[in-house]
Amino acid sequence: MIRALFSAKTLLVAALLLAALILAPQVLPRFYIYLMALVFVTGLLATSLNMVLGFGGMYQFHHAVFYGFGAYALTLLLTKAGMPPVFAYLLAPCCSAALGLLLGLITVRLTKLYFGMLQISLGSLVWALAYRWYSFTGGDDGIHGIPLPDVVYSSTGAYYFSLAVCSVSLLVMYLIVNSPFGRIFQGIRDNPERCRAVGVDVHRHQLAGQAIAAFFAGVAGTLFVTVEGSVFPELMFWTLSLELIIMCLLGGWFVFLGPMLGAAIIVVLRTFVGIYTEYWTLVLGVVLMLLIFFLPEGVLGFALRKAGPAQADPAKE
Amino acid sequence: MLEVSEIHTYYGLSHILFGVSLEVSRGECVCLLGRNGAGKSTTMRSIMGLTPPKRGYVRFQGVTCTGEKPYLLVRRGMGYVPDDRRVFADLTVGENLEISARNFTEGGWDKERVYAFFPALEKIDHRRAGFLSGGEQQMLTIGRALMTNPELLLLDEPTEGLAPLIVQMLEEQIHALKKSGLTVLLAEQNLSVALRLSDRGYVIDNGVIRYHGSAEELQKNEAVRRKYLCV
């Protein structure tokens, strides 16, 4: 199954990259390790969004809600339910997927902007719930000092854990994107009407796609908790969702790894420009505007197009 | 008056017109005949600047205006009646005409004159254009084009999909326009209407002009008609 998707060269590069990442904590200062872990989390989240946005054509405007929901689910399962960490880590993304399914049931009947705005309304209700339910979710103060298993408590432990989970998740998502389901999903993106005409139940696929994307957003949420040890309602606020869309766009939203790159750029940019100036959003805004003007297919999309003019589509090799 | 020379037009990547050339002199009515998808509408759109040709040129009244914005061409004196009518559905008939008013000079076309020309429109002045019948919409698009006071009228399949009676009526009106001195380029599938109206004709097929000659010649040339128009 792996062999069918990757060439030997790709596998080699991936192995080297992975080895480099595994060795990184030995050579890099602690802060960069933390930052890389943050990139994994954010990148995984953006990639999960892109599954429905770039590969499914759904205007998923409030993806962050599934991220935050996963983070809260893990936290509450650990603190309130006192569940063993292994189960909590497995169950939390499922909670996100269930929420994705639930919201999806209401939203998939709508298309494009209507879909997106309805999702924002519903997501805002979920956000309001987390924001208001002091006794359960800690309200806007959030929950801090979450009791994490010892393995992931140190920043190196968190790094390895998020690296592992992120790699596996990316691989699984890549498989899904290239599976029959993914193929149909791309068909729906390009032409939902035609898809119906060849016998595809578009809504059911969109629903499933949303649940899967929500699942991985939930995984990213649990990783966030692992890396930061905190949850707070901002994780489900709609502005974060828009930032995620920007990451997809920045990296290239028709390329599988585009959002990963976009997330890396934004996280690194805001951390390091933030050191020198309070006005890093200004820098980001200008960069984005230039990008939309000159590189509408995103950084990675552009690079790929330059590399191979005939085939810009990532979903196939 | 109008000179189209060797234009090549693309829709995205598909090449539609392969070096189409044609000429229309002042006061003439010239028809462009061809089957569905032969490239008639694309030729019209290329002239009008809606789908600018990639190669070749369009010259109007002695000025090369290839790829110029449509609104500038209208100001130069081109009027355009699209094949799918495209009235402004949200506006009333009167409003449709009002916003199109252009280039008015003494004795030119204004709302009154259009209503006098198409009395049927006056009665439905306040009706929303989206609720008109096909024939009424066609009158409206022609009226709308007339409001721009064109010297050359591009008429793209005015009779398409209309009932025979309406076709007949329209034919008379177009004839009247021609008599009033308007230059007309008419794209048609309906051979009989086209030949009755025009002085000369071009036959287009698959983006190439296959034949051109006077109306009589076309009428006589059975072979061309069979081959390209399957009539």
Partner: protein, 405 residues
């Protein structure tokens, strides 16, 4: 998928890392890292903290620093976002390797940083976050609070209100932790002090509510004796505007924690409603002591404006830091903390002690009423009653109970 994207992703990564791997350590200074929100409404408060802190630090450095070392500080803008602030704090700890963390007006962020401080064993001085949890149930060895908190403010409000004849109350406020904590604090304490009070109802609005008129009219139609308004900083101004426009303050007396604060009253100019009850830690015109007058003068000379309440927090933070290092005798975190505990420093509001048990600075509270006054183009607080910290702070017993939970 293709090696190309992998390679380019990796290259971008390396490039990014190379770009920012600049060495950051300078020798022999004490480094303080401040994370706070310097964007948007909260900066009205946070700028004062930073500026007063800088004023005092500059003085200390000019005199040769502490233990022969200069104190330097770096700031990071959290934009009122917890995730940004938290990663900025980690950056300060891990990359800048600061000795002390300080800051933040955002309670959620303060709690998150507090957790980080405990993990990293770095002292964290919370300068503006009002959550009682910081030194209450979530308190630990490495966190200090140099500001009143919701428990303090609530009790102060209750003590003040208990002396008034009101019975039927309505509670309204910003619908977030701070609002509810203040309201609960006032109400719980008030009920203990005056068992006959009665709650008619509550209304809660979202933070940043654009129009308070519907809330005020809804409250008026319930006809309470008094209203307890628990709004955070940013909503005070529009609420007072709406109160003035509807004549709310003339119909129903109301108490609002920060109503008398300079940051609230200054933007309103002379159009603020009069007679509103409020509490605050500090006024530049009260207490009218020599220390305060001198501080106000210095601050005005440096920045051309009156110091607001945040300035006292900034000043206190600077004084605590220098004082504790001095007392510890060497730059050592654990010794620093030992020195901090129970330390008393002088301030414009008199001597302030850092309570050893919960690391809460024992600040006095001033309750007053808004009023126009000659010489100012904005309203000031009058009829000021000082509530001593011993009177309003939660007892050590209460803190212990909270931490046991």
């Amino acid at each position: 998928m293709n090696r190309f994207s992998l390679i380019s992703a990796f290259l971008a990564w390396v490039l990014a890392l190379a770009l920012c791997a600049a060495p950051a350590m300078a020798a022999k200074t004490i480094k303080v890292g401040i994370v706070d929100c310097y964007s948007g409404p909260p900066s009205t408060y946070t700028n004062d903290v930073r500026d007063a802190f800088k004023l005092e630090i500059d003085k200390v450095n000019a005199a040769g620093g502490v233990l022969g070392r200069k104190i330097e500080f770096v700031t990071r803008d959290s934009k009122f976002k917890v995730d940004l602030g938290l990663s900025a704090a980690k950056e300060l700890v891990m990359r800048e390797e600061v000795d002390i963390l300080m800051g933040t007006i955002n309670s959620a962020l303060a709690l998150a940083i507090s957790d980080l401080a405990r993990k990293e064993r770095i002292p964290f001085l919370a300068t503006f976050a009002k959550s009682a949890k910081i030194t209450g149930e979530a308190g630990h060895r490495y966190v200090f609070s140099i500001t009143e908190n919701t428990a303090l403010a609530g009790k102060a409000g209750a003590v003040g209100l208990a002396k008034m004849p009101f019975v039927k109350y309505w509670i309204a406020g910003d619908d977030y932790e701070y609002g509810h904590a203040i309201a609960d604090g006032v109400w719980e304490n008030l009920r203990t002090l005056r068992p006959d009070v009665e709650l008619l109802g509550q209304s809660w609005w979202k933070v940043g509510e654009p129009d308070f008129t519907p809330y005020i009219t809804a409250m008026l139609s319930a006809n309470p004796d008094a209203v307890i308004v628990a709004t955070g900083g940013r909503d005070c101004v529009p609420f007072l505007k709406a109160a003035k426009a509807t004549g709310f303050n003339e119909r129903v007396p109301f108490y609002m924690h920060t109503a008398t604060e300079l940051s609230t009253l200054k933007p309103l100019g002379l159009d603020a409603p009069e007679g509103v009850l409020g509490t605050s830690n500090y006024f530049f015109y009260y207490p009218n002591s020599k220390a305060n007058r001198q501080f106000v003068k210095e601050f005005q000379d440096a920045y051309g404006r009156y110091p607001a309440v945040g300035a006292v927090y900034g000043l206190l933070a600077a004084k605590y830091i220098t004082g504790a290092y001095q007392k510890a005798g060497k730059v050592h975190t654990e010794k620093f903390i030992d020195a901090m505990e129970g330390m008393t420093v002088d301030s414009p509001v008199g001597p302030v002690t850092m309570r050893a048990y919960d690391h809460q600075a024992m600040l006095p509270m001033f309750m007053g009423k808004t009023k126009k006054a000659e010489g100012y183009d904005f309203l000031i607080a009058t009829d000021i009653v000082t509530l001593e910290p011993e009177e309003v702070a939660p007892s050590i017993e209460e803190i212990r109970k909270a931490r046991m939970k």
